[in-house]
Symmetry: C2
Subunit: 277 residues, 2 copies
């Protein structure tokens, strides 16, 4: 079986952070005019905005609202920090509901020097604590395993197996996984873990971009699809083999691309999507 | 069981690259005068030198010669590259023998865009190809699993389990593992894989340094022990629980430390070794 052929932009979703220089109103208009199918909104793009109005605008532009990015960062060194993280995640769930987004992506968090096992426990407990509100408002929570380069301060969930373990423990229809090729391309058990994720109906999202060689910045030197070493098509094939029919979400943090003309960048995204995804 | 207490420098080894501004003659003299127990020599430090003479000098200074760094980089896009890598590793084995080093550390290699499984096969085959010479000269080959941040172009062996799998396949007394805390601190199965490595008598080396938060350079921003987030003592405890009684090798690549007075840095290494390792 091969990956489906991408011939239009109906399954292409773009994260607002990908075109960072554009505010949310500009992004909505530009994406819609370009015929993009979906949008994932980052919370910073909602600051100072009427969230319901932004949601309505997205729907009026016929863009699918794929998710709100991001919740998480549950681990903390003290109880006050743990409580604050839970409150912030409840706020994110309310924002998602107000926006009309069906899902929040969770960058789970880590505390430098704190054992990863302890952080994982705080992550599991934190998700459990916000689940009642997620249930009430019908918001899915997608755990995004992060590349181990971020194990110090961004996430103690660094493999698909670890993400699946948290999902197993919570065992809830609203808790699943966001699989991002940047984070998982090297995963020691990639194909099998994607299969399991699909089998358990918890493959909630699929993010694409590329890994640059060399990488000049640990956070903001992601590549556009085709610029790096990731076999995106191969991973998409594994994802589609599970029955996944959701969006291919382009999430590129790149100082290089952000410094360029964003209309040209959007055209480059569309080209890279068809040719290298 | 707790880790042994470090009360002197008899089990402290320093890699010549750690004090990069010093040539090999200076490093030998400085380490010996500082009462350091061992030295690991990087191949670049031998360029233009009489290798046997350097080995003799190390022994005359009562330094233990722990290993020669480094062989590896077996994967290549074509057969010519594969053959060249094997020849270079044979040269490294001969250099180790001439120096009087019992072991070579292998940074196994990867080719951007080439499937990691293919690179792993080339690594296994490459080690097998040089094993006869290693046997003849009695040189151990230590596979160093590298952090997945280097999976694009430095190593397709990114976990202790993957290193153990290659060792299992080759099943040879001279093939083992160099465990470096920088690369393995996040490993999803760390304690169990270290236990297995010891049980199979293949834990050949233990490297220490620290992981900085934030990390400003992917290669050359390692921390001195205690500057970062790694539980070095906890990992040393796992290593010693296997019966490992070798050196704690300080391998710090740091533009920051290299730019400072190296005598002061050496004093800082000794202090960090006793207090934070």
């Amino acid at each position: 079986m091969s990956a489906s052929e991408l011939i239009d932009f109906s399954k292409l979703c773009i994260h607002t952070i990908t075109t960072k220089p554009w505010d949310v109103e500009t992004a909505i208009e530009k994406y819609a005019n370009a015929g993009i199918g979906g949008i994932t909104v980052w919370r910073q793009w909602l600051e100072g905005r009427d969230i319901e109005k932004i949601g309505n605008s997205i729907r009026e532009h016929n863009l699918s609202l794929v998710s709100l990015c991001r919740g998480g960062f549950f681990p903390a060194a003290d109880q006050q920090g743990v409580d604050a993280a839970i409150e912030d995640n409840r706020l994110a769930i309310r924002e998602a509901a107000a926006l009309g987004a069906p899902m929040i992506v969770l960058v789970c968090g880590a505390v430098p020097g704190q054992p990863l096992t302890k952080s994982r426990k705080q992550i599991t407990d934190g998700i459990a604590a916000v689940l009642p509100l997620a249930e009430e408002l019908g918001i899915k929570l997608a755990i995004e395993p992060l590349h181990p380069v971020y194990a110090d301060d961004r996430s103690a969930i660094n493999t698909m197996a670890q993400a699946n373990a948290v999902c197993d423990e919570l065992d809830h229809d609203l808790v699943g996984i966001a699989a991002d090729v940047y984070h998982i391309w090297w995963d020691p058990d990639l194909e099998e873990q994607i299969r399991i994720t699909g089998e358990k109906n918890r493959l909630f999202a699929f993010h694409i971009c590329d890994w640059m060689t060399p990488t000049s910045d640990l956070l903001n030197d992601r590549g556009l699809m085709g610029e790096g070493c990731i076999d995106i098509k191969g991973i998409r094939k594994m994802v589609e083999a599970t029955g996944f029919a959701g969006f291919n979400e382009v999430e590129v943090f790149s100082n290089r691309w952000w410094s360029q003309d964003q209309d040209e960048f959007l055209a480059a995204i569309k080209k890279a999507y068809l040719e290298n995804s």
